[in-house]
Amino acid sequence: MLDARIPDGPLEDKWSHYKAHAKLVNPANRKKLEVIVVGTGLAGSSIAASLGEMGYSVKSFCFQDTPRRAHSVAAQGGVNACKNYKNDGDSVFRMFYDTIKGGDFRAREGNVYRMAECSANLIDQAVAQGVPFGREYGGYLNNRSFGGVQVSRTFYARGQTGQQLLLGAYQALMRQVGAGTVQLFARHEMQDLVVIDGKARGIIVRNMDTGELERHGAHAVVLATGGFGKIYYLSTLAMGCNGSAIWRAHKRGAYMANPSWTQIHPTSLPQSGEYQSKLTLMSESLRNDGRIWVPKQKEETREPNQIPEEERDYYLERRYPAFGNLSPRDIASRAAKERIDAGFGIGPLKNAVYLDFSKAIKDQGEDKIRKKYGNLFRMYEKITGVNAYQEPMRISPAAHFSMGGLWVDYELMTTIPGLFALGEANFADHGANRLGANSLLQASVDGYFIAPYTMANYLADEIKTGPIDIRHGAFAAAEENVQQFLKRLMGIQGNLGADYFHKELGKILYDKCGLSRSKEGLEAAIREINELRESFWQRLYVPGGYALNSELEKAGRVADYLELGALMCYDALMRDESCGAHFRVEHQTPEGEAMRNDEDFSFISAWEWAGVEKEPQLHKEPLHFEFVTPSVRSYK
């Protein structure tokens, strides 16, 4: 049984107690300790900068051409923090409770409480870095409320909160690069993890411009490589987002936790054709003022503005009167899918619902709405050519966030000692459903406030180790492994590009391991994915050579996705209950609400790699609720 090593004692004291007793590294010794950080999003930039400031020798890697483009940049809506500036009854405990409940009681109490506890500090740090959060006229910070909670605890910088937070972290990182404590390796993709005597000791990376493979050794390795929602092909993630770094670590022994839990975001722009490469997110903050509806009549042909009020079905307000349009994401997405599947979908492909601002514009005036959401309305018009001040937006659900990821303990360390996972790459704090604006927070606090302590606790014992020798046999073997893998991809010389397989995989997953799942569907999906993987290794075509080659990059990622996709299905199949974003059709109430089974499934699944074609091995980390009582998650 897996042990998360959560400190004993009252909830409020766990983290301070941990910090007070964790081992420290003498400043004079820090320079001798090397740390590799893969990823430069909020989690990666913040840990690399923080460790650099403390005096460690850090190497930072990302696949984009500069750290500032990590996908954290795309977060729009905001970041949660418990400051109670609105005097509306917020507290660390309430934030903890909202998060635990939002995650459908499938997260660890200790971790979630710590995240809420550290949240206030993040706002202080960001403001000091110059992040221009929205303010009130008196000059003090403003908040908005965000999907699934009843207090206003979301800080925002217009609709570009992620960009501004990331620039703060990026600038802190670049300051360390300038100071020489951090060495930057942009356009370097991690290919393998090097494990020596059971400990993470380095990585093999591919220089994406020259194609050369490089060995980098370190006393600890951090993976902060973000989410793998791009596995669905159509998603709100960036084209380069991938699961490769964590997957290769998984194949070296790190367990994957809850891999099937994917958040499908309710407010993205619908797919308009086969050529489509991504689904653009419309910030959830729009649900503060927009009302969601579909026509009451099937096969409606009238334009939305022609449909009278009484012929509209505001289905979220109808089904969940207490939370209405602000219901949590899993609920809102499923309710949309229910209407679309029942034949009430709108738009040319009948795959969308309306998000309507007419009432808000009437009540508050167009100017006020423009001030709040101007950039989002502009973006909507750019993409669709439609003016949403005059007619409702069309939205639909899209794969968005991976609640699953590498299993980590309280110290954010994986099952491989010395390998840490931060941010969206770990499975951490969101349980079976993430609340809006909690993941910028999680990525940031992991990097700024948690890992600097827990990593020091690990590194304190590494001082005696001395420099890591990259001539060690394990480095040579890992490099050889990568070389063979790339050769194999290049050698197939079939007739289909990597995108073809990626799109096919995405369809299988959306269909059978997406918003709703069933035993038959998942079993079929595993078969189909295995067949697709076989065909990939026979029919893939990678044109070009070993140097700069986007097709080769994509092929490597898709090869990993094909294995990870199968694991997601195994995980969803094993979890014979509904919880949060994981909806098994076999387990629902007559009204179609998810039915959890705490008796049998109050645990985190952690999977061990057993080899291609082999069934992965399940380990369980039981969840204990000492401070809250799991209840039925009702938003009615």
Partner: protein, 248 residues
Amino acid sequence: MRIRLKVWRQENQQDPGKMMTYVLGDINPHMSFLEMLDTLNEQLLQEGSRPVEFDHDCREGICGQCGIMINGRAHGPLKNTTTCQLHMRSFKDNEEIVIEPFRATAFPVKCDLKVDRTAFDRVIASGGFISVNTGQAPEANSIPISSPDVEAAFDAAACIGCGACVAVCKNSSAALFTSAKISHMVLLPQGEIEAQTRVRSMVDQMDAEGFGHCSNTEACEAECPQQISVLHIARMNYEYNKAQVLKK
């Protein structure tokens, strides 16, 4: 729709490069420009040729990774729009579209349409930050900042670092990029303390990277996807002169 593309092809930094012509027969006007390039690449792949390398990632106008010259304009014909947010409905049936990389001495071409923009990172590393270590920050509301000041700082901070400003400038100047960061910081009380050292080192680094001087043509503002104003350049010059005068 049917379109004719003239695309810059260049194997690597050493290769002199050349324009190649391709014809696409079946383009949906609702496709994004990059999806049109995906379609071209699928066609090239089927023919067994090397697809066109181009930069992109978020495809929603915020990461700043995409960026090409389209018919001589950075990011194409629409104002304040990144390449990834441009759609084929902005072009005519049978139109010829010329596609080239962002060119500048400080942005060497790596392959086809991909250029090296790491010079921007070095400009930021030279001083584009507020020196605050993790853990040093005071309570956030202890520094009230008026809403208009914060919004003005935001306008500058919104830069996505795509490099369009450099690509359209006849001198390949990075003045808009650099000044946006200087403005962002100097408009906030937190950023004022380091104002002088920051502006001097960033301007020096910008020159060292081989970016040209600003001659006030304002072409940069016109092509900037984030509508960053040239007034920031004026502020940078003012701050720079002030710093030089006050230099100890």
